[in-house]
Point group: C2
């Protein structure tokens, strides 16, 4: 079969695989040969889902709850999330505006699906979450990557967007905390974005997927504050439920029927079991497990932050959230992908190359994920030390 003759939609030329997958495949084959690999490339918590959530799933299984739920999710879960916004953030969100989705990916698919026409411009930071530009391409929209630097803590600001682009922007994708940089938008920057969106009649797609994983600051939300924001959230990160594929979307007033209609057609419904499980994620015994894990993430961050700087990596801003350090490695290399490959091959340490997250100066950056134990992190740092000494 000749691959050159297959028909492909044009969008596929713009959609890239994750480069880190090549590294992961290499790591797996090294492990198959008996080598020990320290994994600091993976964007998911190493912790298993909290026990009370697992128990809730077991109960649902015993009760035979294996049929479809409504397309927008279980009412009980939507109400629980609204309660969480109220209790934790003092934010007033109508449960009707909360749409349960198959992961945050499903939330992005719905939000862009109801908004984006062919050629519509969607602004986002470069670097940023790699799937964002690909979701825009899925709908033949035009992702506008705006270069950001340490000066704005790698966050896209209204000023930066206005300097970069004059033509109309349909939507702006923001993230706080951000992947890969771990930085937050300030309250003032949030306020400027909300004003911008309302004035320009464009929409904010606000990624709050790492909400809850914030260190030394208060966790925040813009839910209930903006008539022009779609808020994307997930049970994957703070709640340690990656494999369950469950997230949610808070839609602006007026969008509920349209998003429901699209969800009915393209998803039918989110996973029933995951939904019954997730109701228990907000219980106090779950939250206390998750908060103790957050403290472990903070300890790991504090350790790794200092350790990699001592090795000569530069952290140009304070990483306040998520579980990533976005580090300048230009002291060692001008090709961070090649650097990641050598580091894996020679030292058995896997980290993610900057080019997975954009084009702007990505050759001089790597991303460390502290999604493994302190012991592993210590071993990884020692291996990197030896690697750099020998390089």
């Amino acid at each position: 079969m000749n691959d050159h003759t297959i028909k492909l939609a044009k969008r596929m030329a713009y959609i890239e695989p994750f480069h880190v997958m090549d590294l992961l495949a290499m790591a797996r084959s090294m492990e198959a040969e008996g080598k020990q690999i320290v994994h600091m490339e993976i964007g998911e918590p190493d912790f298993v889902t909290p026990e009370p959530v697992i128990r809730a799933a077991q109960t649902a299984l015993q009760q035979g709850l294996t049929h479809y739920t409504p397309a927008v999710g279980l009412t009980a879960l939507r109400e629980r999330i609204a309660g969480y916004y109220q209790e934790r953030f003092n934010a007033n969100v109508n449960p009707e505006q909360i749409i349960i989705t198959p992961g945050a990916s499903g939330a992005l698919l719905l939000a862009l699906g109801v908004l984006i026409n062919t050629g519509d411009k969607v602004a986002m930071s470069d670097p940023g979450y790699p799937c964002n530009r690909h979701f825009v391409r899925l709908f033949d929209g035009d992702p506008v990557g705006v270069p950001v630097s340490a000066r704005s803590r790698y966050q896209l600001t209204v000023d930066l967007l206005e300097q970069a682009e004059q033509s109309p922007i349909t939507a702006v994708m923001l993230a706080s905390p951000s992947n890969p940089t771990g930085t937050l938008l300030t309250r003032a920057e949030m306020g400027q974005w909300m004003k911008y969106a309302e004035k320009r009649h464009c929409y904010l797609l606000m990624d709050e997927i790492y909400q809850g994983l914030v260190y030394g600051e208060d966790s925040a939300t813009i839910a209930g504050q903006c008539s022009h924001a779609f808020i994307i959230n997930s049970f994957s990160k703070y709640f340690c439920m990656t494999g369950w594929r469950l997230g949610w979307l808070v839609v602006p007033p007026g969008y509920q029927r349209e998003v429901d209609k699209l969800a009915q057609n393209i998803f039918l419904a989110p996973s029933t079991l995951a939904q019954y499980a997730a109701v228990a994620a907000f219980d106090s015994d779950s939250i206390s497990i998750l908060e103790s894990q957050r403290q472990q993430f903070q300890q790991r961050r504090d350790f790794l932050k200092q350790a990699i700087q001592e090795l000569g990596f530069q952290l140009l801003v304070e990483p306040q959230g998520a579980f990533y350090l976005y580090a300048d490695c230009s002291r060692f290399t001008n090709d961070s992908f090649e650097f990641c490959q050598s580091l894996l091959k020679q030292a058995g340490v896997a980290i993610a190359p900057g080019k997975d997250f954009g084009a702007h100066e990505s050759h001089r950056y790597v991303r460390f994920a502290y999604t493994t134990s302190m012991e592993q992190l210590e071993q990884g740092v020692e291996k990197i030390r030896v690697f750099l000494a020998g390089a």
Copy 2:
């Protein structure tokens, strides 16, 4: 908030909600008032997921298997499905070509996402599965509904397509067994389609979601037989796993990398727990439960087929599979949606209106789903008898 000012992508004007949802909402509110409703409108098996599958999920939970799997799914599950093709259908399918997806919906999203550009024509039968045309609209493609009648058992044939449409067709959506009609494509028709696709270099999107639910015929597949077919399948129907949201896509040679890339970006991965559970769906103790349930479906079909014809509905073809009867109700009404509403309000029986499945003569059809017990079906028939006598 003024709904008229919200920005919507143009595609949303073409995407309709399921009309049966309005009936379902009415039924739920009648039930809340204490009324008994016979549900024959719902497109999911009433059976709970087989016990061995539930047990496999419980084991996975105990083992803490809550992290991501590869985007294309667990190797063990892909191999199990390939084994099933071999054992049950004598079809030789490479596990590498089997992509595990979040439901058949996820499979349709991937197949159309890699194939369809703005304006591309995708042919399908009218009537047919309502989401098909909406999936095409999602990518701003042009769904071409080809009217089909009892003469071709409501199946789209090469002849019908060639009579209807001269301009190039990028893909053709077929289904066997079909929703809403329950009919199969013959082996000869399948052969004609495969020749057509290869000659015209267009692609078949073959819906085999109801595979396994066939009565008095052998269940079939085109997997392993066609270089131009994407095959969509699901654990929802035969395997009674609707709420788990798990399906699969068999991709033609050469497409694996592209579909993997898209799956990585838009789904990350299918549900981990559902995948571990689904491995057990092919075990002999699961299959024997499912086969006994298939016999129950057949008994229900035989009963309902005769009973509704005695009431005056016309079945113009033999419904050989799935769990639907697509019945002509023109003896009673020229507006089948209004008929469904009255039947629900006055008799407490819910069935689906033809207009959910297309435009061609849909006002004279309704769909009965035999996804409820014999006792309920008998009660339903009796209620319809009384309703029709009073009408």
